[in-house]
């Protein structure tokens, strides 16, 4: 279906090759997963398939790419629209119409298809992706998972032979991600659609993949079945890491296979009790009967919670459960209808300037919102001056977080992880008493997530600070947080130590705990320490 022969790609004004001499043939009905560190060229590879690269971006392309016998050299991306459906990283940026139905019809209208054909196809995809109840809704009012489904539907409506998706689940909660992935699985098996996905959260997708293309970032690629690639890959989901640590010869990819592989081990150890956590008594944030409403609808219903110094609290819950609103209320940028939030015996709404910086550090969903300098150096100098630090302090912190950033680079040219690092070091330079992060791991690879985890744990422990983050990333929560607050529809439905909350919810349980259940272990590290301490 898709053939890359000796493809090399270099972007203009760049000296590094994104891809070098890549040859791969993808058969009909295959699901191929593209993995690699951030900024390694996953998106470029996807966009080569329908010619958006280099037709839209410029750059030098050597070699030949054909899709169903059509070379991308000869046709513009529009000419392949009936063959290839493409769903971008942020579907909201690609929507062209206001309402779901009109969005679905857009591409068919552009192709001048007759009205009765359009009607039929729209009904088909509405059913296929269970979008019928949403058909006349404004797209802007849909949740993230629903928008993702609309984007997939509007690609499928053209009856393409190939579907290309760039990080389809990165912004979704585990349940919505599951929905989207099972739809893709069905499309491959029922319609023999060829699907190519780029994704960071390997634990979500690896079970579905037929083959993996691993991009190293220096032009080299590894291509093979998931088992082959996982043997040599630097990027791997927790299951594979656990298998490596336990020294298994075969690398299982699903929870089921892994449970079978470690059956003997599991049976040979007795179930460990859930360790008792010592309650922390250093209240930093007091939330009392917090109610927040947008246009007469309660987003948060009288929440009560106390957050202590040294705690790392993960706020979890489905898209639209009120996670961001809770964070914004704590930071003092949300109008509160009833109740109160007190941070260090201050009302966060009244904080300004220097005092605000010293009390609350906030990393928004788009870390670049905080940045306005023309270069990394300017950004660091500004932070030093704002907080009366020695010149160079912020940059030293940055160097610790993400080493090797060029001072002269524009913040926009940094990778996702580097930008988050810069925003973090700017916030850290004020040494805030409370640190709040809104979905910090969107678009971060395993490596970047690991260093983020390390930094946050140190920050909370050394300075006895409270860290609060909203996230969908179960594996991150397992590694990082000491406490989980679970929101559903504006109510706290669970609040307790990470171990208790995660183990009690199957959808939000991390892979390791699924494998080792009923043992109270969440991460590879937990298993290793338990085994070393001699439970065997």
């Amino acid at each position: 279906m898709i053939r890359f022969s000796n493809v090399s790609l270099v972007y203009p004004n760049s000296t590094t090759t994104v891809l070098e001499n890549l040859s791969i043939e993808i058969a009909e009905g295959e699901l191929v997963l593209v993995i690699g560190p951030t900024g390694s060229g996953k998106s470029s590879l996807l966009r080569l398939i329908n010619g958006l690269v280099p037709h839209h971006t410029g750059g030098i392309l050597a070699g030949q790419i054909t899709v169903d016998g059509v070379s991308t050299r000869d046709v513009k991306p529009g000419g392949l629209a009936h063959l290839i459906g493409i769903v971008g990283q942020n579907p909201l940026n690609g929507f062209v119409a206001d309402r779901v139905e009109e969005e679905l019809a857009f591409a068919m209208e552009a192709m001048n298809l007759p009205q009765d054909v359009m009607r039929k196809r729209v009904e088909e995809v509405l059913d296929l992706l269970s979008l019928t109840p949403l058909r006349s809704r404004l797209i802007a009012t849909l949740s993230g998972g629903e928008q993702q489904r609309v984007a997939i539907a509007s690609a499928l409506v053209m009856h393409p032979k190939v579907l290309v998706l760039d990080e389809p689940t990165s912004a979704l909660d585990p349940i919505a991600a599951e929905e989207v992935l099972s739809i893709l699985h069905r499309l491959v098996h029922d319609l023999s659609l060829t699907i190519i996905i780029a994704e960071h959260k390997l634990e979500r997708v690896i079970g579905f993949a037929d083959r993996i293309v691993h991009i190293n970032g220096d032009g080299r690629t590894i291509i093979g079945t998931p088992h082959e690639v996982m043997k040599v890959s630097s990027i791997s989901p927790p299951i594979v890491e656990l298998a490596r640590v336990l020294g298994l010869d075969e690398l299982p990819l699903t929870v089921r296979d892994m449970r079978r592989a470690v059956q003997q081990l599991r049976e040979s150890i007795s179930v460990v009790d859930i360790p008792v956590t010592i309650p922390n008594l250093n209240p930093v944030i007091n939330i009392e009967n917090l109610t927040v409403a947008y246009s007469d609808k309660n987003v948060l219903n009288s929440l009560c919670a106390t957050i202590h110094g040294g705690e790392i609290v993960a706020i979890m819950g489905r898209n639209g459960a009120g996670k961001s609103t809770l964070l914004r209320s704590i930071a003092g940028i949300s109008k509160i209808a009833k109740g109160s939030v007190v941070v260090h015996s201050l009302n966060p709404i009244t904080l300004e300037g220097q005092i605000r910086r010293e009390i609350i550090g906030f990393i928004p969903q788009e870390p670049s919102d905080l940045l306005y300098g023309q270069s990394v150096a300017q950004e660091c100098d500004q932070a030093d001056r704002d907080n009366q630090r020695e010149p160079g302090t912020t940059f030293a912190v940055l160097n610790q977080l993400v080493p090797g950033i060029n001072l002269q680079k524009h913040p926009r040219d940094l990778s996702e992880g580097q930008r988050l690092g810069l925003a973090l070091s700017v916030v850290f330079s004020a040494n805030p008493k409370v640190l709040i992060l809104d979905e910090p791991t969107r678009g971060l690879d395993y490596e970047a997530k690991k260093s983020l985890t390390k930094i946050l744990i140190e920050f909370a422990a050394i300075f006895n600070r409270a860290v609060i983050l909203a996230t969908h990333d179960v594996e991150l929560v397992a590694e990082l947080s000491t406490r989980v607050v679970f929101l559903a529809d504006g109510d706290i439905v669970a609040d307790g130590p990470t171990l208790e909350v995660l183990l009690s919810s199957p959808a939000f349980a991390p892979q390791v705990s699924k494998v080792m259940s009923p043992q109270p272990w969440l991460t590879v590290h937990d298993v290793v320490t338990a085994l070393e301490s001699g439970v065997l």
């Binding site: 529009g78 493409i86 209208e109 192709m111 009205q115 940028i333 788009e366 905080l370 306005y372």
Partner: protein, 248 residues
Amino acid sequence: MKDSPLHPLTWWIWSFVIAVSVVRVNNPYFALGATTVVGFIVLKLREDASWGKSFNWTIKVAVWILLIRTFIGISIGVPIPGNVIFTLPRILVPAWMPGIRIGGAVTAERLTSALSEGVIICAIIVIFGAASSLTSPHRLLRVLPVYIYEFATAVVIATSVLPQLVTSVARIRQAQRLRGQKTKGFTSYRRLAIPLLEESLARSLDLASAMDARGYGTSRLRSRYRPIHWRIKDSAIVASGIFILVLS
């Protein structure tokens, strides 16, 4: 109104007609009246979507234009004799620029003439702002012919990215307040401009490539999933505009 929307061109035609009559009448009170009516219609009918909010920004821009224009009007130009309200310090100009005066006495006549001209210009801006916040840019695009494809692409991008920027401005300001920065004054605009520009560029490119990838403009003809009809109520609205034009 929600079940069968108006034709996307209706409010644009109506606004155009009203704007023409405002220019024809050339009376600030008429202009103010027209602006009030338009404002009422927008508050009543606009949808809760990104483009609906753009009206508030048009008003802000219009007020700024009014202030700047009035200031320039009273401080530079040909003096009009009459009742002196107050006197600005006068800056001397070379002898080869006779009749031009910077600063000096400000008369009531001069102030009113500057104000009334400004009000008319602003009324026109607000009237077109109303049209754009009452009509979804996406629907407007669908009635434009395809052979102006490149132009139409630019229009969609501009009209759909700009309203989104209004939300982005609020978001970025909030983030910067959280960094402990002032969000008022000139320097705050500079801090706002950079992330904003960055985001709008990225968005525009995303949208352009999405449209291209979905075959926009590949066919010279374009079919309609749901035909857009010109209904009686569309005619009624346009007729009301023309009625005002004829009266004026």
